[in-house]
Symmetry: C2
Subunit: 328 residues, 2 copies
């Protein structure tokens, strides 16, 4: 029988999950829940319902796993502890510093209601976290490096758009190739913020805006750009739409470590993602962990989990014997 | 309390495990078991015993996990099902085609004796398998690619040494860079054996041996070299010892896949290992999974497991809360 999936929130991530479900034959989308007027929301899946978010609890016996597709700033801190009362849930909560408190809240609600909630699923946190963990346990003496990009940072693009005189903008985070090479060489370098990433901005100005002043404001903006070598390109709105409409991202997790009696042997583990669509890749990871949540709940487990707590075999529709024969 | 480790078999792998234990503060080497005369074996760890393999069962209450460091051809098929009767065990069984039958034998013996046996731990099978699995579940529509090298193939080096007139030899397996680039481009290429890897041989001849005949024999050797572009270098024994004494290895696992309603977005996941010492890296993986075996056994679990069945958090000495705060 198919795993019955619900989606809460129908933006880029929700649509990505909807597409991901189509690529997983053991899953079926039952309903999309939205804060908008359901009549105004048109989805891609025939036979799936579109409902108002207030009606979600009424679906608790018709959905195996609810995938929460809201944002980490205000949606998920409320939604995940709330909806885990009714459903097994998955979220992509990505505010790293607040994960411990999010975990505690979801864990308490999940245990009280005998559900499974898997939080912080995606690629960072998510697949990158897994690679940091595997790297650390295999090479206990070593250094971790995470590089992001080349990719679009939504937060930095938003920051550009808040500047007076900016009509539209897109920001790319770019890892510094020579820094990556230094890590790969095994020299265990230490980097400043500026040495690891550069930032490239494509900016459409409002008519009459002062380009020099905008560029100065960008390059000196604290937290976002001041600590980086930042390049600013002023382009037309048309060029922005045709050349910069995608949401690519990716990055690198590296672990550089030593083994041997005198630590004489160096080892490098490198994990790289190159993604045409950040939200669709995140969605694909969410779908795989939804399968794990369903299975864990079926075994009678409950509580909050992260990618660290999920045995890899739970992510696959294949049996243990099939996996051992095909992929081990 | 430390995890009490035993090592069975004291070659490159056994010594590697001994060194790995020194890098894991929660582990302690209690005994090395050898088929040789124990008096003739000198180990690196003060306070650990060296015993004959026949005495191993007598240690069953003094060792938490026994790490089996024998070979896959003849040692492990016998040893793992035998010693899991007395201990929780880990092995690095790497004959891919025979993993299913090895699993069944270990599983039956492990269950009958309430022990945990984790098999096929290392990097391939092992970390590479994990990356194949994660890649497959996240990108269900895509292609898998595994490349090995640059590294020393023990089996191919042995094959060279069996040729008449060859005194000593070392063989490197090298991935073809243009094939890797084709995969990274997202073109989902299909490769012949020849297109993925080349083989480079460094050969020391016996005095008076016919170099041309040896080279011909190498390049036409079925299974080992005939299907590859093979380069042969004749060098002095001294050069072999000074320039080719290491056992480096590594390789790449790539998953290339698509997402989106019309499969319009490409994604690439690339995992790379670059290892100065193949046996020491494998040993480090074995040590981490020994920790997991100990914990699973402590929870009352039993049976045969592989890397697919182990939740990543079990590999770390840190608590769940520490891991979430530091690595997620």
């Amino acid at each position: 029988m198919s795993i019955r999936i619900g989606i809460l929130g129908y933006g880029n991530l929700g649509r990505g999950v909807e597409c991901a479900i189509r690529q997983n034959e053991d899953m079926q989308l039952k309903a999309v829940f939205t804060r908008r007027d359901p009549a105004s929301v048109s989805i891609l899946t025939e036979g799936a319902a579109v409902c108002h978010v207030d009606d979600a609890p009424g679906w608790k016996d018709r959905i195996d796993v609810l995938i929460l597709c809201g944002g980490s700033a205000t949606d998920l801190p409320e939604q995940t502890p709330e909806y885990v009362k009714y459903f097994n849930v998955i979220d992509s909560f990505d505010t790293h510093a607040k994960i411990p408190q999010h975990f505690e809240k979801v864990d308490a609600a999940a245990r009280a209601n005998s559900h499974v909630g898997i939080i912080s699923v995606g690629w960072d946190p998510g697949m990158f976290s897994l690679n940091r963990l595997y790297g650390n346990v295999i090479l206990p003496e070593g250094n971790d490096y995470t590089f992001w990009g080349k990719g679009v940072s939504q937060g930095h693009s938003d920051a550009l758009r808040r500047i007076e005189g900016v009509k539209n903008a897109k920001q790319y985070t770019i890892p510094v190739e020579s820094a990556l090479e230094a890590v790969r060489s095994g020299s265990n370098p230490e980097f400043t913020t500026r040495e690891k990433h550069t930032r490239e901005c494509f900016v459409v100005l409002e008519e009459g805006a002062d380009a020099a002043r905008v560029e100065q404001e960008i390059k000196t903006m604290p937290n976002y750009f001041a600590d980086y070598d930042t390049t600013v390109h002023f382009i037309s709105e048309e060029e922005l739409l045709t050349e910069h409409s995608g949401i690519p991202h990716g990055g690198f997790v590296l672990r550089s470590g030593v083994t041997g009696l005198d630590k004489e042997h160096k080892h490098l583990v490198e994990y790289r993602l190159k993604l045409d669509s950040n939200p669709e890749f995140t969605s694909s990871v969410l779908a795989a962990y939804a399968r794990a949540a369903h299975r864990l709940a079926g075994e009678g487990q409950s509580g909050c989990k992260t990618v660290f707590d999920i045995a890899p075999a739970y992510l696959s529709p294949k049996s243990g014997a099939e996996l051992r024969a095909a992929l081990l």
